[in-house]
Amino acid sequence: MSAPFLFIGLPVFSALIIYLFRRSPRLGIVLAACLCLLLAVCARSLLLDERLNLLGGAIIKSSSVVLGRTFAVEPINRLGLIFIFAQAAGLFLALLLVEPGRFYLSSGMAILGLLAAALFVQPFLFAALFLELAAAVAVFMLAGETPPATRGALRFLVFMTLGLPLILVTGWLLEAGAAGPGDESFIRQAVVLLSVGFAVLLAVLPFHSWLPIVAEHAPPLATAFVLTVMQFASTFLLLTFLNAYEWLGQNPAVYRALTLAGGAMVLAGALFAFGQRNFGRSLGYAIMVDIGAILLAVGLGTHVGVAAALASLALRGLALTLWGVGLTHLRREAGGDDFDSLRGLGRRYPLASACVILGLLSLVGFPLTAGFPARWSLLSLLAQIHPTAAILLWLGMVSISLVCARGLMALLMPVEGQTEALSAAAPAFSLKRLASLSAYSLSLALIIGLGFFPQWLLHPAAQAAAIFLHLGR
């Protein structure tokens, strides 16, 4: 058996099996989450190309060849796999608190297999093809069925498809450049195409328009999956590029461009978010600030910066899972996620409301939340190297925090005459409700606990960043 088959084939195959369990969703959820955890553990500890006594002396090969293309598991890929499968397991487990969509689990598993293929394929420029396939499969979870909402899913698909040709052509230009080392025009064209390609994949300004639309129209946990797992794969691909090509990874102009793009994203996110009165769109702009922060971190061109970026990406999963669970609950009750329609619901559903607010705050790195330590370390680094970028990032954090404050006010202030109705309609006690309350409380404790004990996450992130040996100016 080969490891690529394990990490690609097993999730894709299980997607079909899990679809058959759609009538008993809890079983499907547990199966999917357990499989993801198992694969994350395998990615962390499985010995490859060595005899395994546990399997009767069998050898799991680290690579396999399909139609002339090699799929290989390397140490750098293992890191990506651990992130992707662990985040997906968390997102799947969160479905125990809300009703999953018909295709959520099966398309989620298929996406994981395709993302694993994107990490393994060599040359890794062909990863763009697998990312595109994953984006097309993601449409099935992003399209809301009740009520039907297709706008966000369509916009997402269009933008991901636009990025595909740019990255694939880059691969050809690099090969052509290697064949004729004297001609630098190929390399110049490759850098331009690669930059635009990654700008599209990472939703960098001006290719960001799908973010608020998806966040507003798609089911919240599907949005969380795409913005966590799929965006992680794209960012990881960028880091792999910078690490693999010395002329790219050691080029100061690349890091200047990343800093510029990051600053623009943070500023735009802060400005657009400022007047928002909708939790969905607010998340779209908060993600813009977060993407900007990650680009600023990578743009520092140091391992400390990469560690801050990886920590932010890991914590994005936790924040978005909380936000997704809470907003699904509130959206189901109110029929929308603008502040006016959610008015007063915070009194009736305090834990769901707290999840939405704390999820958003953690995403932008508000103090005392899980996102703060990583954001604080980035702000400290930026203050020394790019003070303007640090101010922009701080503005982004303030802008989203103000939106959260307005949202919290709306959630807590009922419209006149609604107070009695809200207290009268308080849900009755049941075992299911107790389990749900415990899960909500545990998640909230985790997001606050990580804010107090950041070393649980920052230390592994620093170790992970060390894998990118050749990255940095």
Partner: protein, 217 residues
């Protein structure tokens, strides 16, 4: 003799691609769009046949026609995006014979002309072409990509946007087969076409099934 025949088909295929891609921007009728897209896949295959082995051409044609088939089946499920049948006014033509022109037809025609000219011009500039590729492939690729981008910019309706996306991938496929003719990449690009057609079909189905349900209430 076969290669002479194929070479003589280059110019007609280029003109055909220009017409079909323009047609997809100007006309919103799904059934005509499916025919135009199928024709586009066949015409693109004629160009690809000049530079690739026949197996690649067959894969491209099959994947393309399969995608059109998926979209057609979806279209048939939702009455090809038309409103739920209502009593026909006296003297009006039956539904199958009526064409629906989109709003802003003169604008669309003018935009198609301008974009086509711009794409043609860019495809003949040495700074913008992919070197080592025949000029007619550059022209075909640029035309399809430019017109599909125009189409995507003018619509938010899932099926028409899907037709635009598949046109974009056809244009890119023409370029890319010339530089990377390996079977693995051809198979993956075919899979991308197929999965995008499925995704677009699903979106169109959701969009119009909901609209029909609302209208029938």
């Amino acid at each position: 003799m076969m290669s002479n025949l194929l070479t003589s088909l280059i110019t007609p295929a280029l003109i055909g691609l220009l017409i079909t891609a323009s047609f997809l921007v100007i006309i919103n009728d799904w059934r005509l769009g499916f025919v135009a897209l199928a024709a586009q896949y066949l015409l693109a295959a004629v160009l690809i046949a000049q530079i690739a082995v026949w197996q690649v051409v067959v894969v491209k044609i099959l994947a393309g026609l399969l995608s059109v088939g998926i979209l057609y089946l979806t279209g048939a499920e939702v009455n090809f995006g038309r409103k739920v049948a209502q009593p026909r006014p006296e003297g009006a033509a039956p539904a199958s014979a009526r064409f629906e022109f989109p709003t802003g037809l003169p604008f669309r025609v003018l935009a198609v002309l301008m974009v086509s000219l711009a794409a043609w011009n860019i495809a003949t500039q040495s700074n913008f072409v992919l070197q080592g590729i025949p000029s007619w492939l550059n022209v075909a690729g640029y035309l399809l990509i430019a017109l599909s981008l125009l189409n995507l910019g003018l619509t938010e309706e899932p099926m028409n946007a899907g037709l635009g996306l598949l046109t974009l991938l056809t244009g890119f496929g023409i370029f890319y087969t010339a530089v990377e003719p390996s079977l693995a990449v051809v198979a993956l690009l075919a899979a991308v076409d197929f999965v995008i057609a499925l995704a677009v079909g699903y979106l169109a189905f959701l969009h119009y099934a909901a609209a029909e349900k609302e209208a029938s209430r």
